[in-house]
């Protein structure tokens, strides 16, 4: 018991320090790095795709794959079913390729452009620190290109491949060809098709059979250049009996115009493999009047391919003007497990339409959904989820819980749960609650010497605790900090 409470308290200590530190700060990642960039002209055409592919020195099959996706995209319509509103994106105004110019391709972290390294220091990711202390392997993607990957050598001794997608296409073409778009085909949706045509980089990760990845793998995404879109592609393959925990962090500079982010993430878990994928998304949300911000249209899907496999998504979404994403799991293997833990915060004019899809195909498959939506200001926050139980999915089991919290009376919280059950042995449960921060809760905190801003942060962190506990420690601290910052000025 003694050590228990001590441990708990160490955790608490960092939590509180961080809240204190940050309740009075603005979006602090809004700086711009002045680095020369190698850019494509704006607009989208076959030529641009050829340009990207040749810039990256890609093999012929990759170019063909992209062009095929582009043709599909041209035939598709931008979807409009989500509970969000935004002006039409002009896809011809976007720059589809922007790479920070570096004189030589860095062979190691030490060779990375000092300006770039300063950027990452400001983001709180010192590559050297990361390398030395935390034991987290990091891949950094700025605008369109992967800048640096740490810990590569140590990982490769275990046969783990963790590198940029461009490098994987060059060095591990067989794996890429086998698995790329096997979970999210280019034809899946408008943004997946767009991404397939123009993606310029991302992370690739392969965990061999019966290997437990000894450290958290992490990617930091950063949009820097003006008018550019970021289209990254992440592919994680966990072979039989392996385990990996992957973290993704995102920031972008403050700009008045909107920027587009359309990523695709594919996860594949073989028999008894487990993939844990955590995201802390803090793209620039736009200012308090609703100007600027990132449009975050992302397709994330995991395939529990083998029996007894498990895929778990945990996300903290505080940024972006618009968030539109549904990390999903296809439960194909028997006894496979899918989980989705989400905290989505919206403030000012932010809009979020997020949730998950759990497709139960195999027998005895289980899924669990815990979604916590927090809306403040004039924002709109929607949970949209689908639980599908196929006709062969004997004894499938799902539990969903969707809680919403409202701050103020100008925001909205919406829940759209869809359930499709084709096998009558399934047990599907859905619980939902909506609450408000009460005046009496705030006064109680005030009476104990806690100001309103800090009180809101405490109450919100309490509300989101179940999800926060699912994040790896390093991320949990950052996530708590983000919650406090995102809701600043929303009460009082």
């Amino acid at each position: 018991m003694k050590s228990d409470i001590y441990h708990q308290d160490k955790h608490i200590d960092s939590e509180i320090d961080i809240i204190e530190q940050t309740v009075s700060s603005e979006y602090k990642y809004g700086f711009v790095t002045n680095i020369e960039a190698d850019e494509a002209p704006p607009g989208l055409s076959e030529d641009i795709i050829r340009f990207i592919s040749s810039k990256k020195n890609e093999p012929e099959w990759m170019l063909e794959w992209r062009l095929k996706a582009f043709k599909q995209w041209q035939k598709m319509e931008e979807p409009n079913w989500a509970h969000i509103k935004y002006p039409r994106v002009n896809y011809q105004d976007i720059i589809y390729y922007s790479a920070p110019k570096q004189k030589v391709k860095p062979g190691s972290i030490e060779e990375v452009d000092p300006e770039l390294r300063k950027t990452f220091d400001k983001l709180g990711i010192s590559l050297e620190e990361q390398k030395r202390i935390s034991g987290v392997a990091v891949d950094v993607v700025m605008d369109s290109v992967s800048i640096a990957t740490t810990f590569k050598t140590q990982l490769s001794e275990l046969g783990i491949i963790f590198c940029s997608m461009s490098e994987a296409i060059q060095k591990h073409p067989d794996l890429v060809r086998k698995y790329l778009s096997s979970v999210v085909p280019a034809s899946d949706n408008y943004f997946a098709a767009l991404n397939s045509a123009v993606f310029s980089d991302g992370s690739f990760c392969y965990i061999p059979k019966n290997t437990r990845c000894p450290m958290e793998l992490s990617t930091y995404f950063r949009i820097n250049a003006q008018n550019s879109g970021q289209f990254e592609r992440t592919l994680i393959i966990a072979e039989e009996g392996s385990y990996v925990s992957y973290l993704e962090g995102c920031t972008a500079p403050k700009r008045d115009e909107n920027q587009l982010h359309a990523a695709v993430v594919e996860l594949i878990a073989m028999e008894r493999a487990e993939i844990k994928y955590s995201t802390v998304q803090n793209w620039f949300p736009g200012d308090k009047d609703g100007n600027g911000g990132i449009y975050n249209f992302v397709t994330k899907r995991g395939l529990c391919k083998g029996d007894y496999s498990k895929i778990s998504w945990a996300q903290v979404e505080t940024g972006s003007a618009i968030t539109w994403k549904y990390p999903s799991v296809i439960l194909k293997g028997d006894y496979s497990v899918g989980e989705f833990y989400s905290v989505a915060v919206t403030n000012h004019f932010q809009q979020a339409d997020t949730g998950t899809k759990m497709s139960h195909l195999g027998k005895h498959t289980k899924s669990r959904i815990v979604s916590k939506g927090i809306s403040a200001g004039k924002s709109q926050n929607s949970y949209r989820g689908l639980v599908h139980v196929g006709k062969n999915a004997l004894n499938a089991r799902n539990f969903s819980q969707c809680d919403s919290m409202l701050l103020g009376d100008k925001c909205g919280a919406h829940t759209f749960p869809y359930i499709e059950v084709k096998n009558n042995t399934a047990i599907v449960e859905h619980e939902a609650t909506t609450s408000k921060i009460g005046e009496d809760q705030l006064f109680y905190c005030n009476q104990r010497g806690i100001d309103t801003e800090t009180a809101v942060a405490l109450i919100i962190n309490g509300f989101a605790r179940e999800v926060m506990n699912k994040l790896p420690m390093e991320f949990a601290v950052e996530a708590k900090k983000l919650l406090a910052v995102s809701l600043e000025g929303s009460v009082g």
Partner: protein
């Protein structure tokens, strides 16, 4: 320590306190008794600065400073503690975390160094022992699923942790059985010192068997109509509030 002069206050335009005068010195325990609706809880709320209440006249000085000028959190920093009649629940927020935040906010206000996790724990353990506080309660979410007695014990534990100069107990005995009252009162008695003071608001005399007051005041219809020693409480218990009401009527008639 606390000087209330002709305090008038109300809520939503309705006047409840119609001129309260009260002085509390260091080391003293005062009890305020009165029938339902006499303004007891309003007095507690106004002292703590609950935003819904409006002060329409009079003054309150606390250690020489104008208490009414301070925000609720600053009043806590200045050393005013209110044990709530109905403590609120905050789901998911651990009680320990909450108390640690409160202690450090108050320490910051008082110009004291904040406690790190290790020293906070040390202090908390000492107070837990002193207040006979159950550790299991502190690891649970704040007041969530606590019984009435557990909530009140938690209030008194927080009082001990925050070391206020003046503790206002708003009907801390309401809804408690006799064992719980004894435990809570023990906590208050251990907290008492020559440097701090207690203002116990209660409907019943029984609390005052355990927390023995130096002064008893009877609040009726927004005013303190009678003050005396602890024997006054016994007299009220015996004769009921009617005798006060009748006295007032007689005075008015005379």
């Amino acid at each position: 320590m606390l000087r209330i002069k002709d305090l008038q206050a109300g809520i939503e335009g309705k006047q409840i306190l119609k001129g309260i005068n009260l002085e509390i010195g260091a080391g003293e325990v005062h009890a305020i008794m009165g029938p339902n609706g006499s303004g007891k809880s309003t007095l507690a709320s106004v002292l703590a600065g609950r935003p819904e209440y409006e002060v329409t006249g009079g003054s309150v000085t606390f250690n020489g400073k104008d208490l009414l000028e301070f925000s609720p959190e600053a009043r806590a920093g200045e050393g005013l503690f209110l044990a709530f009649q109905y403590p609120v629940e905050i789901p998911g927020l651990s009680t320990t975390n909450f108390i640690k935040t409160a202690v450090n906010e108050v320490r910051k206000y008082r110009g004291q160094q904040e406690l790190d996790a290790v020293s906070f724990l040390k202090v908390m353990k000492e107070k837990m022992k002193l207040m006979e506080m159950d550790q299991a309660l502190l690891t649970r979410a704040l007041n969530e699923g606590f019984s009435g007695g557990e909530k009140k014990r938690n209030e008194i534990f927080q009082m001990a942790m925050l070391e206020p100069k003046l503790a206002v107990l708003d009907e801390t005995d309401s809804g408690l059985d006799i064992d719980a009252i004894r435990i809570v009162s023990d906590g208050v008695n251990k907290f008492r010192s020559k440097d701090n003071a207690v203002l116990a608001i209660t409907h019943y005399q029984r609390l005052l068997d355990y927390i023995v007051p130096d002064f008893v005041h009877v609040l009726y219809n927004g005013r303190i109509v009678k003050s005396g020693s602890k024997e006054l409480a016994l007299e009220l218990e015996e004769r009921g509030y009617d005798f006060i009401k009748n006295e007032i009527k007689e005075e008015a008639a005379a």
